[in-house]
């Protein structure tokens, strides 16, 4: 557990990067984690090519894992092409978190991924298989 709340996770939680709402924005999506009621929204601005992300922000309230995960995920998005983002593997985000996430907390860790996919795919996407406790 002390692994789960490693300093860098707690640091992202206390001082999240890219927190807030972009206004105006090109893409927006909001979703929640049904197991805990946590809510998260994401707003994105595209660059002049309209095919890559120029700016991103997330907002919402939630646990340290979901907030740190959103902070870390959004950090890597600037300059990314939308088709790359759509093809993103949720495992990469779990790897980037670098801490062992128990089955009960996978949805916390992957809420940001789900919200991001909702934004870039233009509508709600299913939870990735990685979020299911039973696999």
């Amino acid at each position: 557990m002390d692994n789960l709340y490693r300093d860098f996770i707690l640091e992202h939680y206390r001082n999240p990067h890219n927190k807030g709402t972009l206004d105006p924005h090109d893409l927006h999506f909001a979703d929640s984690n049904p197991t805990c009621g946590d809510e998260m929204s994401m707003t994105l601005r595209l660059d002049d090519s309209r095919s890559a992300i120029a700016e991103v922000a997330f907002d919402g309230r939630g646990c340290a894992i979901s907030q740190a995960s959103a902070s870390i995920l959004t950090d890597g998005l600037r300059g990314q092409r939308l088709d790359e983002v759509r093809a993103m593997n949720p495992k990469d985000l779990l790897d980037e978190l670098g801490v062992p996430i128990g089955p009960a907390r996978l949805k916390c860790a992957l809420l940001a991924y789900k919200v991001l996919q909702g934004a870039v795919q233009g509508g709600e996407v299913a939870w990735p298989a990685e979020a299911e406790a039973v696999s």
Partner: protein, 422 residues
């Protein structure tokens, strides 16, 4: 099998929780982190004593056949044990007759049975019924579905800042002439003990029937439906030391007699022709198909265990722990407790929030300390809405808990705060 309750070491008339732990196999094994298991989540589902597990293994091994069917020794034996369990539930709830006990899967199914069978027969367009903002989703959603379907109105009784029902609001909602009031005996999310006798009196005076959701009360305090005077009462076996998959609906005989079946099929009929069927008498009219035979027997063993301790003593024991845990948490800065202060109106359930720390994180850190608690909305989102919080952490006591668990709870809170203070 009889269990001798351990003698009290700390409270006259009650028992030592720690001395009961050997009765529960789950406490034999330390947690993944190598700690003693501090189980504070009985409100979600309780551990099972060995006597319940043994009774079920014995029933499956030596006394199992289908019930109410076979004309042979084994089936008669199984039927007698199954029906004896029904009798234990009736006695446990103070029901005048065991025929008023309908076996169901859980309290949720019991409430759905009433909503489908009584509700769709008796509630009409323009009618009203009442539930409260304090309820578990199981005592809200079936009524939302029912009232939407028949065109009736569902009113909710508001709750106070300290988690009690607003009695003036209840009075006002009853004055509108509802046909039914569905109310919990004890709130699963906050631990509030509702003043049932007063509520039932008020409802009956207003001409409403009363369904009591006792899922959170029956495991922890004496229940007597005859003394309460309610009309329906629902319990879940798995919250009261019994197996999952078994619960009971108690209903007044004349109400049950007048109600149509909820589910149909085998056992619940007396005669079936190609033109139709005639219904069996209660409770069998409501028990279509092969029931959860061994689970019912397991529930009977759980009731034996609780009855041996005495439900009054169980309530005293949990009150004793609450009276120590509530102020212990209250004196830690950054802890917000929900629910009433008065231990007379608060069951052994403590719902709390730590400033700046999400309940999911709290429960995860607690888990690393060997402390099992529930974090979430506790299937009571309207309660969370009332206090504008997404979730709480909930610690709930039962018979095997003791002062060492109260201490473990406080230290887990401090450990969590320390980690997040960084």
């Amino acid at each position: 099998m009889a269990i001798e309750p351990a003698l009290s070491t700390h409270l006259p008339g009650a028992f030592s929780g720690a001395a009961l732990r050997p009765d529960f196999a789950v406490f034999d094994t330390p947690t993944r982190s190598g700690k003693r298991l501090v189980f504070l989540d009985a409100a979600a589902s309780s551990p099972k004593p060995r006597s319940v597990v043994d009774a079920m293994a014995d029933a499956y091994s030596h006394h199992y056949a289908n019930v109410h069917r076979g004309i042979y020794e084994l089936s008669e034996d199984a039927t007698a044990r199954f029906e004896a369990a029904r009798g234990k539930v009736a006695a446990f709830l103070g029901a005048p007759s065991r025929r008023e006990i309908v076996f169901v899967r859980n309290a949720t199914e019991a409430i759905n049975l009433v909503a489908y069978s009584w509700g769709r027969t008796n509630l009409r367009a323009g009618d009203r019924m009442v539930t409260t903002q304090l309820e578990h989703h199981a005592n809200i959603v079936p009524w939302q579905q029912l009232t939407r379907e028949v065109g009736a109105t569902l009113d909710y009784v508001a709750i106070t800042d300290d988690g009690r029902l607003e009695m003036d609001d209840l009075r006002a909602k009853l004055a509108a002439g509802p046909k039914l009031l569905a109310v919990a005996a004890v709130s699963n999310a906050l631990g509030t003990i509702n003043p049932l006798a007063e509520i039932i009196g008020m409802a009956h005076e207003a001409g409403a029937l009363v369904l009591v959701d006792a899922a959170q009360a029956a495991p922890h305090m004496p229940i007597d439906v005859a003394a309460l005077g309610c009309d329906f009462l629902a319990i879940s076996g798995h919250k009261m030391l019994g197996p999952s998959g078994i619960g009971a609906l108690w209903g007044r005989r004349e109400l049950l007699d007048a109600m149509p079946p909820f589910m149909t099929g085998g056992s619940m009929i007396t005669r079936v022709t190609l033109d139709g069927a005639e219904w069996n008498e209660v409770p069998f009219k409501f028990e279509a198909g092969t029931p959860a035979i061994v689970e019912a027997i397991g529930l009977g063993a759980a009731i034996d265990y609780l009855t041996n301790l005495g439900m009054g003593a169980v309530r005293e024991h949990e009150r004793y722990l609450f009276e120590r845990a509530w102020p212990a948490l209250g004196e830690i800065p950054g802890v917000r407790r929900l629910g009433p202060d008065d231990p007379a109106t608060h069951a052994g359930v403590i719902s709390f929030v730590l400033d700046g720390i999400h309940p999911h994180d709290v429960a995860t850190v607690f888990d690393s300390e060997g402390v099992a608690v529930r974090a979430g909305h506790h299937c009571a989102q309207p309660v969370m809405l009332r206090y504008d919080i997404p979730a709480t952490t909930r610690a709930s006591f039962y018979v095997y808990n003791d002062l060492d668990d109260v201490e473990a709870l406080s230290s887990a809170v401090r450990a969590t705060q320390m980690l997040f203070a960084g």
